[in-house]
């Protein structure tokens, strides 16, 4: 009896377990049908990167390993070129003889080709003297605005580039400091602190050779040419340029230091003084971010002052990219051998070296000078460069004749180049494999499924095995050549190797390692871009005569202590907020809440340009409280810049801001902006601010993923939805922006920049507010339809409501998305590994069924600048506003901040001319301008923040609670209308 009972219990227990495990089975079942569909639909894809079609430079050069290097040069006049216009883009190239140019401050003439527009191609015929490897040489006048000139080169009528670098050779330009207006060495603020100078082009002819801007090829590119006549085609990439001369030159030959150094000529001269070159006295630089900097952290800096920040060094993290070169001038009195040393700081490449290529008068003295090593230390070092033998260093002696000389130091990868190249290829292969895996498993694979990746992706095993092998070899080589260096990165490579081997060892369950694989891949690709950064900060350099000792300033412990004590005291007495001396009634007061870098840039612009020209004094201060507080306390500025979107109307209708229509020339001023950019700042016929920045959205996409999926860029929303379904079928996503409302965004951005709803309304010719501006227009039938379409993207199509688009675009799991155009800066500067594999396009439009036209209107966002009504300097403030929003000043300000902070410091000016002057790639500039031409602004009414809120609440009630779109909109639009009505009543 008991046995039967036990048996019964056992059977029931098994049944219970079976039944409860069914739901888990059901989950699996839900996935299976989709997978079958997918397996049937398309065969798994093998991703190809763009550069598969072009030979890597390494392979090209390997073909000519036995060829000799040229010994003679050959040049052709720029004017001798024959222009072949492009089919699609406007461009002209005119030959001009005896064109006036400046060379080293002397006036000369050249026969040039003036290439305007930069598209199409120019053909030259050249007579090559011998079979050999040549460098490509060009002498040109770069354009005043925009980025470095890029040209492609083709030979003898071929349409295929010889190697990947030949498709777009980049030529840097020469930059110098803008001279100060008052004759002092550097610009100063009211306290005497020195301010870094702006950079300008020299305006003179620039000579360059084609080099590898990735740094993998350390020497300039070598082109193999046979003896005889050849046709050279320069392919234009959209850059204006005036070509004076092109040519093929003999590559520089260097001798080793042993051969260079002649012991017999060495005469000791211990008494003679050092030749001192201050780092900040750089004459010419080839990048406008190489600006001299201040550092008063140590008493040994020259010059230094405990109370003031003085300019005393150059470099740092802005001098870290391959190819950046700084050149200094110096004079030698007595010819002879000199030791070369520098006082520098390299505290970034931990336990490693930063490399520099030394040239005297444009020539490398000896082979070892190509790789001067600046070793790591947390402190400043005084280092004499020489041959290293363990710990002992025998100094190099450089022969200098008497007279004027130049010395230049250029960032070079040296022995890192090979490691970088190999790692780049490995990371690229791993990244492509990751995308293929994600297309099958999505980013969070179901651990209970057996995807059998090795069957679904034909190249799976092979790619991973090769990657593992390459990683092991690379780790071994790095450890052999550098010893301790690279240990942090060796760990990353070893980890990647481990994960790959885990996946290879367990092929049936390889997918459980996907997230580990991904995190190691991102570590490696971040290190890839970090690896190439070789910063050095130089305070001064010395040429010490043979036998002498470099006489660097070295403070003892008491001097250091004294210096620090005075600095501590100075921190109490220095006024850090005051930038100008001008007190009293006459000065215009200006408050900003920016960082010091931006404020100093603005201040120097104000002093140099506004104060000098208009004679109106300006008092600039960093103040972090709002205008309202200032008005209450009766201590307020006269002008306010970058007022957030809703602020001008809100403050203006309450009488805090001045109506700008009282100035006669306001219409002229408004012409410099995009049409309609001023709409948000009008209320009741009064203009309360003029736009100073404007942003808009555009579409970003991964060109390589699109190519492999066979997609074309969508122009309408239907096409966009179609692209998205294909993308989603491969377990990837699209990004349609939605920004969470916080205090800042509700008041600041205005509704245009938050999400796509206003854009879609505009594309259907539906304004957000009614004609009178006293109620919203979002509850009419067609507007509700648009709202439904918009929310369906999230409910029916399942697009992500929140995502980090920059990261997802970078790793490829969101190959299509719409975001503000300033995302461009982030992707451009912080995602170098996908360089060339992404692009921007216009936001999709709505097809009007009757006219057949696509309406591409897009909503904008931005800020304005206004005048405080209670100020007593209306006229002067208006002059300031006009000056601030002018093209020249907006360009200079943005460039100045960008040279200090990098690309991410670029502003988004609303002045159209200033925008076009900034450093854009021609293709990107065209796309952005195209998008900008469709931008329309949403007007602001009292209580407009409630519209944003109402749309938001309606959106969430539809998404979260599944409420019918009509009901949601009807309810919330009433709320918004009430608020608007109340506000208007209050203020009419």
């Amino acid at each position: 009896m008991r046995k039967n009972l036990l048996k019964l219990i056992a059977v029931l227990g098994c049944l219970a377990v079976a039944i409860t495990s069914l739901p888990f089975g059901a989950f699996a079942d839900n996935e299976a049908p989709a997978a079958d569909l997918q397996a049937q639909s398309n065969a798994p894809l093998v991703l190809q990167s763009d550069d598969d079609e072009l030979t890597p430079y390494k392979n090209y050069l390997a073909q000519f390993s036995s060829a000799k290097q040229a010994t003679t040069d050959v040049y052709i006049d720029g004017a001798a070129g024959v222009f072949v216009p492009s089919n699609s883009k406007e461009s002209t190239a005119e030959a001009k003889n005896n064109y006036a140019v400046k060379v080293k401050a002397k006036d000369e003439t050249r026969n040039v080709l003036d290439w305007v527009g930069g598209y199409g191609s120019v053909k030259y015929t050249v007579d090559v003297p011998e079979d050999a490897l040549y460098n490509f040489y060009i002498e040109f006048l770069p354009p005043e605005v925009g980025v470095n000139v890029e040209l492609g080169i083709l030979f003898d009528g071929q349409t295929e580039y010889l190697f990947d670098g030949a498709e777009s050779m980049e030529f840097s330009r020469d930059w110098v400091n803008v001279p100060t207006v008052d004759g002092k060495k550097w610009r100063e603020d009211a306290n005497g602190n020195q301010i870094a100078p702006e950079q300008q082009l020299t305006g003179e002819l620039v000579e360059r050779r084609a080099t590898d801007d990735t740094g993998v090829a350390v020497e300039p590119y070598l082109f193999y040419l046979t003896k005889g006549t050849h046709e050279i085609t320069l392919v234009g990439l959209g850059h204006n340029v005036v070509i004076s001369k092109i040519g093929f030159t003999a590559p520089e030959q260097t001798i080793s230091y042993k051969e260079y150094f002649d012991q017999s000529k060495l005469t000791e001269n211990a008494e003679a003084a050092d030749i001192v070159i201050q780092g900040e006295d750089a004459a010419v630089k080839n990048d406008n971010s190489l600006i001299p900097k201040t550092n008063n952290g140590s008493n040994d800096m020259i010059p230094v002052d405990p109370y003031l920040t003085l300019i005393n060094n150059i470099g740092g993290t802005s001098w870290q990219s391959v190819g950046q070169k700084i050149e200094w001038n110096f004079t030698v009195e007595n010819a002879g051998y000199y030791q070369f040393s520098a006082r520098y700081k390299q505290s970034d490449v931990v336990n490693g070296e930063s490399w520099r290529w030394l040239k005297i008068d444009g020539k490398t003295p000896f082979t070892e000078a190509k790789s001067l090593n600046f070793s790591y230390d947390t402190q400043w070092q005084n280092y004499v460069f020489g041959e290293k033998d363990g710990k002992k260093v025998t100094p190099y002696y450089i022969w200098l004749e008497a007279g004027e000389h130049t010395i230049s130091l250029e960032v070079t990868l040296n022995e890192l180049a090979d490691a970088y190249d190999r790692l780049f290829n490995i990371v690229e292969a791993i990244g492509d494999m990751y995308l293929q895996i994600v297309m099958i498993t999505s980013e969070t694979p179901d651990v209970n499924r057996s995807y059998e990746l090795f069957r679904q992706i034909p190249t799976f095993t092979e790619t991973l095995e090769n990657a593992s092998k390459d990683l092991k070899a690379l780790v071994k080589d790095i450890q052999e050549s550098t010893g301790a260096r690279g240990s942090q990165y060796i760990a990353a490579m070893n980890n990647m190797d481990r994960v790959i081997n885990q996946m290879l060892d367990a092929p049936f369950i390889a997918h459980i390692y996907v997230s580990d694989y991904y995190s190691n891949y991102t570590t490696l690709s971040s290190w890839l871009s970090e690896m190439k950064k070789l910063p050095v900060t130089i305070d001064e350099m010395r040429f010490t005569p043979a036998g002498g000792k470099a006489d660097y300033k070295k403070s003892n412990i008491f001097q250091n202590f004294g210096y620090e004590a005075v600095r501590l005291y100075s921190s109490f007495v220095n006024d850090y907020t005051l930038y100008n001396e001008e007190d009293g009634e006459e000065a215009l007061k200006l408050w900003v809440n920016w960082g010091r870098d931006q404020t100093m840039a603005l201040n120097s612009l104000v002093q140099d340009s506004f104060v000098k020209e208009k004679g109106i004094n300006v008092n600039l201060q960093i103040v972090s409280c709002s205008l309202i507080n200032g008005l209450l306390a009766n201590n307020f500025p006269d002008v306010q810049l970058y007022l957030s979107r809703t602020a001008p109307v809100n403050y203006g209708m309450r009488g805090a801001l001045l109506d700008l229509t009282q100035f006669d020339d306001y219409k002229e001023v408004l012409k410099q902006f995009n049409e309609g950019a001023d709409i948000p700042y009008w209320y009741n016929g009064a203009l309360y601010a003029i736009p100073d920045s404007q942003g808009f959205m555009c579409m970003f996409y991964r060109t390589d993923v699109f190519e492999d999926l066979g997609l074309s860029v969508p122009n309408t929303w239907e096409e966009f939805l179609y692209c998205a379904t294909i993308i989603q079928r491969y377990n990837m996503d699209v990004y349609v922006p939605y920004t969470q409302i916080t205090t800042a965004t509700t008041v600041d951005a205005g509704i245009g920049g938050l999400h796509l709803y206003p854009t879609m309304l505009m594309q259907n010719n539906l304004p957000i507010y009614n004609e009178e501006g006293n109620a919203t227009n979002i509850n009419n039938v067609r507007a509700i339809q648009v709202f439904e379409e918009w929310t369906e993207m999230y409910t029916d199509y399942g697009y992500q409501k929140q995502a980090d688009f920059y990261n997802r675009l970078r790793n490829g799991s969101m190959p299509l998305g719409i975001a503000g155009y300033s995302t461009y800066f982030t992707i451009y500067s912080a995602a170098p590994e996908i360089d060339g594999r992404w692009a921007i396009a216009n936001v999709p439009g709505t097809l009007d069924p009757e006219t057949g036209e696509i309406n591409r209107a897009t909503a904008g966002s931005g800020s304005g600048a206004g005048i405080v009504k209670a100020s007593s300097h209306h006229e002067e403030a208006w002059e300031f506003l006009k000056w601030w929003t002018s093209a020249e000043i907006q360009t200079r300000y943005s460039n100045n901040v960008e040279s200090i902070l990098g690309l991410l410091g670029r502003s988004t000016p609303s002045n159209v001319e200033a925008f076009n002057n900034l450093g854009w790639d021609p293709a990107d500039l065209e796309a952005l301008n195209e998008q900008w031409s469709h931008v329309q602004e949403v007007p602001e009414v009292p209580g407009s923040y409630y519209t944003t809120r109402a749309v938001d609440q309606a959106y969430w009630s539809v998404i979260n609670d599944g409420i019918n779109a009509k009901d949601a909109i009807n309810k919330w639009s009433l709320v918004a209308d009430n608020e608007i009505k109340r506000k208007i009543e209050e203020y009419s």
């Binding site: 888990f24 989950f27 980013e443 969070t444 179901d446 651990v447 209970n448 997230s515 309202i628 008005l631 209450l632 809100n650 403050y651 309450r654 009488g655 805090a656 969470q740 409302i741 916080t742 205090t743 509700t746 008041v747 399942g798 992500q800 409501k801 929140q802 995502a803 980090d804 209580g943 923040y945 809120r949 938001d952 609440q953 969430w956 009630s957 998404i959 979260n960 209050e986």
Partner: protein, 305 residues
Amino acid sequence: MSNSKSISKLRRKDAFLEQLPLVGMLSPFLIFFLLFTIIPIFSSIALSFTSYDLLSTPKFLGIGNYERMFVFDDVFGIVVKNTLVFAIIAGPIGFLLAFVLAWFVNEFSPAVRTVLSFMFYTPSLVGGGLFIWQVLFSGDAYGYLNSMLLSVGLITDPITWLKTPQYLMPIVIIVQLWQSMGVSFLSNISGLQNIGDELYEAGAIDGIRSRWQELRFITLPQMKNMLLFSAVMQIQSSFSVSSIAIELAGFPSTQYAVDTIVSHMADMATVRFEYGYASAIAVILFIMMAGTRMLIGKVLSLIGK
């Protein structure tokens, strides 16, 4: 008789003079308290009868603001409900937590006690550190909670935790409790430290048999003042929950699900420029908090009886 009168007058004068140095020492605090706490309360009450937007002079409205608050403003009803939910749930729980945790922590040796109390106290200091909760509850598929649930298979789509009303209230309560181990927690610990051992010994002699009895008859009565202080702090913080909600859930939160009286007030003042109405809300909040404080005081005086 006149003698005694003048003697008592003298005594009063002496007493007064004796107290003068004490008043002098308190005066800095008193002045600031008066200027920045007492006077603003009265000016707030005064402003609550006007309509004021900071940039123009106040317009007298009578009881218009209160009328609007109770009759027209439906958001006010929601926020009062939310605030009471916080006060009723998070307040007592926080209060109990502060005491219970202090009691447990008190059991350990001094070294361990220091470490533990540090661990519990620091969340109340890291006001800006709320972003870690934002990452945990991020609506992104890579947010910690979402990715954990997705990889286990419990959900198939990432949930936007901080935008869904039904999840918002529990989340904000949890974060509020996490941050509420503040001054009251520390004062409870110090209060528990101060109960002399001899009381426990005496209690053991008198026949106390269990920890519960010890707690009820010795610990709690000794802690009465501390508990009152702790209760006041907890009430005050639970009524003024707003920065957590704003940081996490947005401003305003979806369907006002976690907006409290304070955030509604902030909204009215800073966003909508209606300082008169905001002052009226502040007055109502003041009355609510003062009333609750008196209630708690009455309840706590019953302890030990």
